[in-house]
């Protein structure tokens, strides 16, 4: 794609913005995007940051032989690098080693520090949260069964089993 500012090839940053009361979309090359201040935005003129990742990942594309599909959403590493968007939570474990260098470059760090979701907390006597989560899942299961939503019910049953296994 051609950059709408300088006309050069390899425009990969899709900017979605509001100009004088109207919604506008345009495509820029990495240089022009940076120059116009779309490199690090949050808020009013939030752009699709992610597309910049395309160029981020560009140098680390693996040999074709390494490419596999994410078992959950079917994304390949190439899909992720190309779009700058990760397909699902499982993509992170599937392509962990491949994603890590880019993650390190972005954050200067690769290990989380801070709040933990109850989904990530090991169950202990002093942390009864997980029990309430289990109860919630069971209530949801009841609801799904009553609504004859069996696909959902099966999913919930698996989740409950796994939680009970971890707790027990």
């Amino acid at each position: 794609m051609k950059c709408q500012k300088c006309g050069k090839d390899h425009a990969n940053t899709h900017v979605k913005t509001i100009i004088n009361g109207d919604y506008k979309e345009y495509v820029l090359c990495a240089d022009c995007a940076k120059e116009m201040g779309y490199g690090n935005i949050f808020g009013n003129m939030q752009q699709e940051f992610s597309n910049m990742l395309g160029s981020f990942f560009g140098n680390t594309l693996p040999a074709v032989s390494q490419a596999t599909h994410c078992p959950s959403c079917g994304s390949t590493y190439y899909d992720i690098a190309d779009s700058g968007k990760v397909g699902c939570a499982d993509c992170y474990s599937t392509f962990y080693d491949l994603l890590l260098p880019s993650i390190r470059r972005m954050h200067g760090n690769t290990t989380h520090c801070g709040k933990k979701s109850v989904a990530g907390i090991e169950y202990t006597e002093t942390q009864p949260k997980k029990v309430s989560k289990l109860e919630n899942l069971k209530a949801e299961l009841d609801k799904a069964v009553k609504a004859q939503n069996f696909e959902e019910a099966a999913k919930l049953r698996d989740e409950i089993k796994e939680l009970e296994k971890n707790n027990g």
């Binding site: 940051f49 992610s50 972005m106 709040k115 989740e159």
Partner: protein
């Protein structure tokens, strides 16, 4: 230390449900399910605040109404680029918004007037915990909250403050400040206008990194840097308003705003910024800061059209904007 340099404070958290692909890979049926799950979780939450959320329907909205929500920072441009399968849950006073199926399944945001990072984060944290107990979030011990874009991994948090820095801007120090801040993991950008050239000298300061730094540390960091910038701005202001030329500019700006018959958004924002500086420095006494903040919000192009209730050409808008400002200031 109430010097009105900080206009508002905002905290945003990105969250996703474990059992659904991220929005970009999620079909219409999946998106609808995610919307319902989050709505349910909020409704059944054991918190008074959760029950007051309103579901905003975008189906019958005009383009101006959508853009106006962006102008007021309630949704992102990305969100309105295609509202199909997306939803907005909102609460007023304090302003809380949940964008569903935008870049992540959930983008929770809390905004308040003034400089109040701790309070804003606490509320966002409370609502997040409430959702966490009822939804199965995508979370990894190593990478933290998993997000569609890896730039948000870790805490998924972006905390920011909106600052009015007319004196620092005039001193020509902004680009140097911006490059120094980026070394500290902080981003600064102009709110109106592109890049660092900010019409109205309104800037947004936010944390850049979300992985490997806790919410508390990131907020403390942002707080420290904001305080330093505020101090510098206050010092520069004292120096600036000693000059007759600067005071003249402020008073002339007020004169134009009180008398103009037609005015562009760009010009109005620049003049309002001067007047705001005049109020903060004690040169203008009969107008409040709140009034100026309100005018700055209301005169934005789409918001103006929503208030008037009809589409207008740019020329008509400029006339309408001048009318609104004259009435508000006289």
């Amino acid at each position: 230390m109430d010097n009105n340099v900080v206009i508002s404070t905002r905290v945003r958290l990105a969250r996703n449900l474990k059992n659904y692909p991220f929005p970009y890979k999620l079909n219409e049926k999946g998106r609808a399910e995610v919307n319902e799950k989050v709505k349910d979780a909020l409704k059944n939450g054991n918190s008074a605040i959760a029950k007051d959320f309103q579901y905003i329907n975008f189906d019958n909205m005009t383009d101006s109404m959508k853009v106006s929500l962006v102008e007021k920072h309630l949704v992102s441009p990305e969100f309105i680029s295609n509202t199909k399968g997306r939803a907005l849950l909102m609460l007023n006073n304090p302003t809380v918004g949940l964008m569903l199926n935008e870049e992540d399944h959930i983008r929770l945001q809390v905004i308040e007037k003034g400089f109040c990072l701790d309070r804003v984060y606490d509320l966002a944290d409370k609502i997040d915990t409430l959702l966490d107990e009822r939804l199965n979030f995508a979370f990894d011990e190593k990478l933290g909250y998993l997000t569609q874009c890896p730039t948000n991994l870790g805490t998924g948090m972006r905390a920011s403050v909106m600052l009015h820095l007319p004196a620092l801007k005039q001193s020509g120090a902004m680009s140097m400040i911006a490059s120094n801040l980026s070394k500290l993991g902080i981003t600064i950008r102009g709110l109106y206008g592109e890049g660092s050239a900010s019409e109205g000298a309104i800037y947004q300061l936010s944390n850049q990194v979300s992985l490997g730094i806790s919410e508390k540390s990131a907020i403390q960091n942002l707080k420290n840097i904001t305080e330093q910038l505020v101090n510098q701005e206050v010092m520069q202001r004292e120096r600036l308003v000693k000059s007759i030329d600067a005071r003249d500019k402020i008073m002339r700006s007020l004169g134009i705003l009180k008398t103009a018959l037609t005015i562009s958004h760009k010009e109005a924002v620049g003049l309002l910024s001067n007047v705001r500086l005049g109020i903060c420095s004690g040169l203008i006494k009969d107008i409040t800061i709140d009034k100026i903040n309100e005018i700055i919000t209301e005169i934005q192009p789409a918001t103006l059209m929503v208030t008037v209730g009809k589409p207008m050409s740019p020329k008509e808008r400029d006339i309408c904007r001048a009318d609104y400002i004259r009435e508000a200031l006289n």
